[in-house]
């Protein structure tokens, strides 16, 4: 192969009608996959509809109107996988589809799995099951119900739910408050007709990124590009930038209760750092020192020293410049936990950081970036993120950028991190009465 061993690259191989095609070079995997991302602005009116589209498409296509036949076909293709879903990156919503299969040299016959799987993917994407001027009614009803059930079931995972609520409160009146699959209220407004109209908009006008990874012939890739290029597309939708900067006037406090045993504390912060800012890499190092791993101040102080929690960590939302600290604690320890957490944030601001902490964090980040190259999904996610923000760093230069981060850089970003919202999901006392604790 014509690329240096050990280097993972994404090479743009074609661009047409608002579709960018990338070939990921890495020859160690036993599987081949294609990832597609249609990108939209994250908007209340469209988020739930966008989320419903992949759910509808996955249930069959003109050639395989019975989903059991489609599933059987995927089994026969050695457990090939075709899937889809939505995710948000900053104030963009991505409607993703992917197909993957094992490489032909691990099959017993003379199958050309890539061509067969691509054909299935194209069928699902381009020929959904319709009735009149909308999606097939019975199919729509089922997936619409499932979407609403899914949105309601967000309360089931208390850790994720508290994070979602913290962000909703923190970003109220900003598009980022919209959850990945939108809200129940907006989902209620969908019908087979308006969802089909949205699907057509997606197929014909959303910017589209296509990534091809793993062993596959050039002629098969060309055929895939031709198939995509044959889709009539125009008026490609312009994407709005994500709003990152915000000055916090007053810290917002929100307490909610539920019938649970353990309280979930979330502290949301604004970092005011864009992914394209020179402060971005220092910010990632900052987050790693504060709460990124087992070496972090939060893990060491909240868990190891005070024994208050099993988990205490901080996560970054790269595109929106947010940081959220999360911990699961006894309700009665809330003030103590909050105090210890804020003390760590303050210590960062004052520069109470050792060179060792910086070095450990940079090492951990380097390991993380290098390891991403051992997963096809992670490679695609890395490049998708870069392409979405028009950044050109690859794995190697990203690592170099981390290595250049100094103590001054970290302390500088620490000065601009502002606490915005404290959200606490607390036990309503019922569990304690039942004697479950």
């Amino acid at each position: 192969m014509g690329f240096p061993a050990g280097k993972t690259t994404a090479e743009k191989i074609a661009e047409k009608n608002g579709i960018k095609f990338y070939r990921i070079n890495s020859d160690k995997f036993k599987t081949t996959r294609v990832d597609l991302y249609f990108v939209d602005n994250l908007e209340r009116e469209r988020a739930s509809g966008n989320a419903l589209i992949p759910a509808l498409l996955k249930r069959g296509c003109a050639k395989y109107p019975k989903v059991t036949d489609l599933e059987r076909k995927l089994e026969e293709l050695y457990g090939a996988d075709i899937d889809g879903g939505v995710l948000k990156k900053g104030e963009n919503q991505l409607i993703g589809f992917h197909m993957s299969h094992i490489s032909d040299n691990f099959t017993s016959g003379n199958e050309k799995l890539f061509d067969e799987c691509s054909e299935l993917l194209m069928c699902i994407l381009k020929n959904p099951m319709l009735e009149g001027d909308g999606f097939k009614k019975s199919l729509f009803k089922k997936e619409w119900d499932n979407l609403i059930d899914y949105i309601r079931s967000r309360i089931n995972n208390k850790m994720r739910f508290s994070l979602l609520r913290c962000i909703e409160e923190m970003c109220a009146n900003e598009p980022f408050a919209i959850a990945d699959e939108g809200s129940e209220k907006d989902a209620m407004l969908l019908n087979p007709q308006n969802t089909l109209a949205l699907y057509n908009e997606m197929l014909h006008s959303y910017p589209l990124y296509v990534y091809i990874t793993g062993p596959v012939d050039d002629s098969s890739i060309q055929k895939l590009i031709d198939d995509f290029s044959a889709i009539e597309r125009g008026n490609i939708k312009p994407l709005k930038p994500t709003g990152v900067e915000k000055t916090v006037k007053d810290v917002k406090r929100v307490d909610e209760s539920m019938d649970i045993n353990q309280g979930k504390l979330c502290l949301g912060f604004r970092t005011n750092v864009q992914p394209s800012s020179p402060d971005y890499y220092p910010l990632v190092v900052y987050n790693s020192i504060l709460g990124g791993d087992t070496h972090s101040k939060l893990f060491q102080n909240v868990r190891e020293k005070a024994s208050l929690a099993y988990y205490a960590q901080s996560i970054l939302e790269k595109y929106k410049g947010l940081m959220v600290i999360m911990s699961g604690i006894e309700a009665e320890n809330r003030s103590k936990a909050e105090e210890i957490i804020l003390k760590q944030v303050e210590d960062m601001r004052k520069g109470n950081i050792t060179q060792e902490e910086i070095k450990a964090s940079i090492n951990a980040l380097e390991t993380g970036i290098k390891s991403m190259q051992d997963s096809q999904g992670a490679i695609v996610d890395f490049y998708m993120s870069q392409h979405l923000t028009n950044l050109t760093d690859d794995f190697e230069s990203t690592i170099e950028n981390f290595k250049k981060v100094t103590m001054d850089d970290v302390v500088r970003v620490a000065q601009n991190v502002q606490l915005d919202t404290i959200y606490f999901l607390k036990p309503d006392g019922r569990k304690a009465e039942e004697g479950n604790v």
């Binding site: 160690k28 995927l74 457990g79 691990f106 089922k142 309360i155 951990a364 290098k370 051992d374 604790v437």
Partner: protein
């Protein structure tokens, strides 16, 4: 340095096996082009091993629930500091887990493999327990237990195990309860350590872009501990019947969750265990996989959704199949599934359907070889059950319809239990 080299041409993998003089087995898989290197050091000792004979005495003891998991937490603490911290200083990502049947310590790194690997091999051989550090851990693990009490997926699963098993300790929470861990002492932890952390009861697995000589030489230099004799685990007699047919709990969820299961009362080990496990997965896939008529009917009728899944769990000491997810009507769903199971036993598995499911499962096995973490994990687990993970490929070739139908008859005639979590 002498070790065995086993080539698996059809998988594109080579396995290197080394027998250390202490009796410790070491497995290595070379993954050219991979950045990540993962090493695991594990013991064939999990949450179910609560009753055992202490080596060097005739004493059989019963220890508090959750002690294997507690010991896992404590091993990270060493006299000169916390191991998690030391690994992270070298840029490695360390962790450990305790399951029903094993406790495994591991790290992954991209650089400084030798330093990290030495640390792993060293600390697992050196517990450092004090009354004070044992007490401190109770607060942390207490919060871990509370977190799981609020996890509906976890609760519906353990309530099912409680339905399936009358006596077997698999029904107990892996981390124990706040009450049971309160009884854990330094002395009891040492009893467990001295019994199960012995070279012949342990294994090391490594995968990454390394050389076998390099890996095995490090093991040679670092392994100091001596064998402490054969481990004798005692499990209570488990009747074939269910403990109870139904269990229900109310939690803060949006719609009901259900989980059903059937106990497999036939105990096997070695390659036979892998074969039986694969047969059970094929049967489950045929009856309720996404290509099945049953799945389609339940989905179309709004009785299940995308969260529906099934699993096969088979170990030398226990075995069950289980399935479930969210459902608007768990009772009705369970009745339809039970009827379909009865019909499947009567009709047997269709050979065409088996051929395509087999292809699909083999494909998923190949996919798993993309991940160094998966390889190290599966090698460890299969070794403790007397088998080799890479033989999975060969077993797919050998598996025939008669065997699958025999397993179908042995397992699916048994009664299924139902666990439900309902919204308040």
């Amino acid at each position: 340095m002498s070790y065995r080299t086993i080539k698996y041409e059809d998988l594109g993998e080579t396995l290197y096996e080394y027998d250390h003089k202490s009796g410790l087995k070491v497995f290595f898989v070379r993954k050219p082009g991979y950045f990540k290197k993962t090493a695991m050091f594990g013991t064939n000792y999990g949450s179910i091993d609560n009753i055992f004979k202490v080596p060097g005495s005739d004493k059989v003891i019963e220890v508090p629930d959750g002690i294997a998991h507690f010991l896992e937490h404590k091993l990270f603490e060493q006299e000169d500091g916390n191991m998690l911290d030391k690994f992270s200083r070298l840029g490695a990502s360390p962790n450990a887990f305790t399951s029903f049947n094993q406790t495994v310590y591991y790290f992954s790194c991209t650089d400084l493999f030798e330093e990290n690997f030495k640390m792993l091999l060293d600390y697992v051989q050196k517990p450092w327990l004090t009354d004070e550090n044992v007490e401190k851990e109770k607060g942390i693990i207490g919060q871990e237990i509370m977190m799981y009490q609020d996890n509906a997926d976890w609760r519906v699963f353990f309530n099912l195990l409680d339905c399936l098993y009358v006596n077997h300790p698999i029904k107990l929470e892996i981390a124990g309860s706040i009450e049971s861990i309160s009884k854990i002492t330094k002395e009891l932890l040492y009893d467990c350590y001295n019994t199960f952390y012995s070279p012949t009861n342990m294994a090391v697995t490594v995968a990454g872009d390394l050389e076998p000589d390099e890996v095995f030489a490090i093991v040679d230099n670092m392994i100091q501990f001596k064998d402490r004799g054969t481990v004798e685990k005692k499990y209570p007699q488990e009747p074939e019947e269910l403990n109870q047919e139904y269990k229900e709990q109310k939690l803060a969820v949006s719609m009901p969750l259900f989980f059903m299961g059937i106990k497999d009362n036939v105990r096997v080990s070695g390659p036979e265990l892998l074969k039986r496990r694969i047969a059970l997965s094929i049967i489950m896939n045929d009856i309720m996989g996404r290509s099945s008529g049953l799945y389609d009917k339940l989905y179309s009728d709004g009785l299940i959704n995308d969260t529906f899944r099934f699993e096969v769990s088979l170990d030398q000491a226990y075995g069950y199949v289980a399935w479930g997810g969210q459902s608007s009507d768990p009772k009705k769903t369970s009745e339809i599934i039970s009827a379909a199971l009865k019909e499947a036993v009567e009709k047997g598995i269709n050979s065409d359907s088996m051929t395509s499911i087999k292809k699909s499962h083999r494909g998923m096995f190949i996919r798993g070889l993309n991940s160094v973490d998966n390889i190290t994990h599966e090698l460890m687990e299969s070794f403790f059950n007397g088998a080799c993970y890479f033989d999975t490929g060969r077993i797919y070739e050998e598996l025939d319809i008669d065997y699958v139908n025999k397993v179908l008859n042995e397992v699916f005639k048994n009664k299924a239990a139902l666990s439900v979590v309902k919204p308040q």
